[in-house]
Assembly symmetry: C2
Homo-oligomer: 341 residues x 2
């Protein structure tokens, strides 16, 4: 090992409203030592995700909140530096380590080798990782789209939304997305094959949905909440489904903000709105990996990411994510790829 | 026939906000003549229901709106005056005629004889009618309660709510209700066997739910919307279900009112909220009739109603319903029962 320093990002204060850089601190810790059965992993990339904002609050949720003064955690991929587990060797590319740090020790039983012939390393935090799995379960199991139906996706250029749209297209749905810049709208229609897309910052949502969803919405994949949900409800077809993956527009409100004024539509149109968390659906993981590998091979799904370099920029990447600065998956490169690049 | 006059209530104007008596008119029409295969029915009781408020608007919905200048319609039970169908005779008690009128002609194929040994005539507009069927499908199929779970019902002393609570009790659930008067709260706990109830007009909803649902809410049977939904969401357990039967608090708003500020709870707690309309679930009608007959016989469900006398008071009964003046099913007696009473 060439260093004994393991930089990591800790939660310094619980954010009130939109997080500030002073809510975080970059500290130097020691590189941990693997015990028998464990691996020392040098992280190559770490994931920043909207759900992490919720874990910064000290609130009851499906997962314990981040602890003040402790490193945060999240998805990462990296390279084995030292293995004390028979199934792994130094140099293996793996997932299983925690992010927001340069090095991590993980049990061999929690690590998985990456198939870099199938997809690049970063894809294992994106389309082949929790992001892709979230899109898969949310769209297919909760949304249950049928060919010919209209699927509307909010935050469509983001990590999950961009995969939802590609899967929905592959299934023969009409796919419409909203995003927060003209560049993202171009990305959706020109790269991802969306049938229509609009920049929600420059249009009237109601009018945009009337124009882009002339046959109404059958599945609204909810990433945003607030005005998006209200407008989508006004265009939902009878028996429409709303997989509720997240409501990023609400996460940074210091005070609660009133919601849609048209929830009675849920009754009138017999809509099903269902929240989901991917950890409840691990029985579908094998199906997901099989299907996504096939889609990657045949080109119906592609991986896109926005990579920020250096753990010292991880907080900036996270804050940028919350403001929609990414196209595709937002990642932070915190160390070399296998082979040293 | 002793009269040729058929009084009926027509929609005179589309209400703006809370309906006014001048939005309706009581007019005298001719008693219709049955053709071959039809019955002339003298209505005994007619139903007034919250959903009728929606049909007074000229808005896209699951059913066409009431037409201006035409009689409104809805559930009724009555007595056959003249039969031109071989399966029915004068004096038979039947359902199938339309309400908001004293007489109606119906095809014999659309009429059904009532079993007055099983339940009184009025019950066929309540627990044995669409009201009971709504409670049955909404609670069992949409809510899917399990023994030991907590079921919270809003508008619990109303037609649907009072049946929901009784079925949930019979299934071994902890049943909690909200209602709009102390008399209704007494009715819920002393007559219907609710485990707890509160008067939402005199308590803090959040605190009341904390006290009455110490283990959280697994099924919130939604009749009200607005503040009730917001408070219930804050107490929902993971994987909770919200059958959305109606949102009566919203029906008379002249302008849309903002909704709950905590819809992100749907994601965090993986809640399923699902609207339903009973006409989509006719495949369950046979199961409902079998089960409800059994519950009526063994006493686990009882029928309760509030009866207003005379078609000239039907509008008042409807407006009273919208203000919660009923306990159990709100009915209007518009003619004699079989035998002349």
């Amino acid at each position: 090992m060439t260093t004994t320093i393991n930089r990591q990002v800790r939660l310094a204060a619980r954010p009130v409203g939109f997080p500030k850089t002073s809510d975080f601190e970059l500290v130097e810790a020691a590189v941990p030592e693997p015990a028998d059965g464990e691996l020392l992993v040098r992280n190559s990339y770490m994931s920043v995700d909207p759900y992490m904002r919720g874990r910064m609050n000290d609130a009851k949720s499906y997962a314990p909140p981040f602890q003040l003064g402790e490193p945060m955690y999240g998805g990462a991929v990296g390279v084995v530096v030292e293995s004390k587990h028979p199934d792994f060797s130094a140099g293996d590319a793996v997932t299983g380590s925690q992010g927001w740090r340069e090095y991590d020790v993980v049990p061999g039983s929690a690590a998985r080798k990456l198939d870099l012939d199938l997809a690049p390393m970063t894809a294992y935090l994106g389309v082949m990782g929790g992001t892709g799995f979230t899109a898969y379960v949310g769209l297919l199991d909760i949304g249950q789209p049928r060919a010919g139906e209209t699927v509307f996706v909010s935050a469509a250029a983001g990590a999950v939304g961009s995969v939802v749209g590609q899967i929905a297209s592959a299934m023969g749905c009409r796919v419409v997305g909203s995003a927060g810049s003209d560049a993202k709208v171009d990305f959706l229609t020109k790269e991802l094959g969306f049938d229509a897309a609009f920049n929600y910052r420059t249009v009237d949502l109601e009018q945009a949905l009337s124009e882009t969803c002339p046959d109404g919405i059958d599945v609204y994949f909810e990433n945003v909440g607030g005005d998006h949900l209200q407008a989508a409800l006004n265009h939902m077809n009878p028996f429409g489904r709303i997989p509720a993956c997240g409501m990023i527009s609400l996460y940074n409100n210091a005070e609660p903000v009133p919601g849609p004024n048209n929830l009675a539509t849920i009754v009138r149109q017999r809509i099903t709105m269902r929240g989901f968390i991917i950890s409840d659906h691990m029985d579908r993981r094998g199906d997901f990996e099989r299907d996504m590998a096939a889609w990657l091979k045949d080109g119906s799904v592609k991986h896109y990411d926005t990579v920020v370099d250096g753990i010292e920029n991880a907080v900036g990447a996270f804050l940028g994510l919350l403001q929609g600065e990414n196209i595709g998956k937002m990642l932070v490169k915190v160390g070399p790829e296998p082979g040293g690049a």
